[in-house]
Amino acid sequence: MERAERTSKVITARDLGLVACLRCAQAWPRETERCGRCGHRLILRDEKSLQRVAAYWLLGFACYIPANLYPMLKTETLLSVQEATIVGGAIEFIYYGNYSIALIILFASVVIPLAKFMAIAFLAVSVVRPSSTGPHQRQVLYEVVEYIGRWSMIDIFVVAIMSALVQLNSLASMHPGIASLFFALSVIFTMLSAQAFDSRMIWDVQDQREGTKP
């Protein structure tokens, strides 16, 4: 195990008897309830953080299941009415030989959401149980999850644009399916779950393990 000299000497606001504002980075005495600079509520460590992470995570995962079972998009043409789920839409592209688009759809709508669920679960568990992954990697993972979370809404926007645009009377028309609502809810709950995670806990565990705590 490498043990960086610098890391062991870092002093946290908690060590100093202070509480920091997560919004504006101002330090206050521990008893302070609200940041006098920006008005944000001050919490030394959010004890219920993990519970909220888990609750939103479960809601998000629960919504992700119907998002994949129900049709995302209904296409009506002169000859047929077609209802496609997320995976079904990708399979259709494979059927027509359009492998690259199929791969992009599968990656953006299946692989990334599932990876996000796993990453949040891993981060939450790693705070409770020791993990061999270093705090730096976990911090980077957390930032990636927070950054990517919003981008999953792209599926919803694509469905919105297509079903608004493709309204060609009897020739062809597209309508959003009920899965779009579940998918959007899943994305929103996953974002809330990631936001509920207090990344300071990643570093607290590290401090304890390195024995810098008295």
Binding site: T12, P29, R150, M153, L168, I202
Partner: protein, 241 residues
């Protein structure tokens, strides 16, 4: 911001590093904790809770948390004025992009044009109405709100006036809304939708599409110019003196 950058108080046992943050021994820090007086000599990393002695970087430099590498302060010269200019441009572009036709499709002699709001309102049957409202908020109303809030906060600061009433609350709301402002995602979504439709019909871009694409570039620039710590600091300074 036009506030002067003064270095924080110094003491004997501190180590400088080149990024403008100083690390101090703990024994000097334990003293003088009084009720609800902020420790203006410190900056605490919101990501990892590491406390650093505050030394303001010069414009163009960045203060980075030495433990988790989160960027804490990024002052820029004339950033305030540039942000105001960008925000004003974004404001007009949002309104124009929401009104003008956005995309036009044609196939077999039938054409259909939609605006951005119409695209959002495509979710119209039954429970999907909720989704229509959410989409409209994410791509038009939340970005619009954020622009208005940042103008409200920044204009008095840049012109050396006292902060507007409730400016701190306005800026806090603007920051809280940041992850929910999804205009740029919508633009990429357009590109994806067009690839999917292009085999079915001809698609042409309306003026609003180009306005919205420009808007996204301006929003990204505006975000990168904004040093949040400098704004909070400027908002708190007049009350202290």
């Amino acid at each position: 911001m036009r506030k002067a950058f003064t270095p924080g108080p110094t003491s004997g046992n501190e180590r400088w590093n080149r990024r403008g943050l100083r690390l101090r021994g703990s024994e000097t820090e334990m003293s003088s904790i009084t009720d609800t007086v902020p420790r203006t000599d410190l900056i605490v990393c919101p990501q990892c809770d590491a406390a650093w002695s505050l030394a303001r970087p010069e414009p163009g430099e960045r203060a980075v948390c030495q433990r988790c590498h989160t960027v804490l302060i990024t002052p820029r010269r004339k950033a305030g004025m540039q942000i105001i200019a960008l925000a004003t441009a974004v404001l007009f572009l949002i309104i124009a992009a929401a009104v003008f036709p956005f995309l036009t499709i044609s196939a077999g002699g039938t054409t259909n044009s939609v605006s951005i709001l119409e695209a959002a309102l495509a979710f119209s049957d039954g429970p999907l109405v909720l989704l229509a409202l959410a989409t409209a908020a994410l791509i038009v109303f939340i970005p619009l709100t954020r622009v208005l809030l940042s103008l409200y906060v920044l204009v008095p600061l840049v012109f050396d006036r006292p902060p507007a009433p409730h400016a701190a609350r306005a800026f806090r709301l603007s920051e809280a809304l940041r992850p929910w402002s999804m205009a740029e995602i919508f633009v990429i979504g357009c590109a994806v939708a067009l690839i999917k439709i292009s085999e079915l019909a001809d698609v042409t871009f309306g003026p609003a599409f180009w306005m919205f694409a420009a808007l996204v570039v301006l929003v990204v620039l505006q975000e990168s110019f904004l040093c949040r710590w400098s704004v909070w600091n400027a908002l708190s300074e007049p009350q202290k003196s």
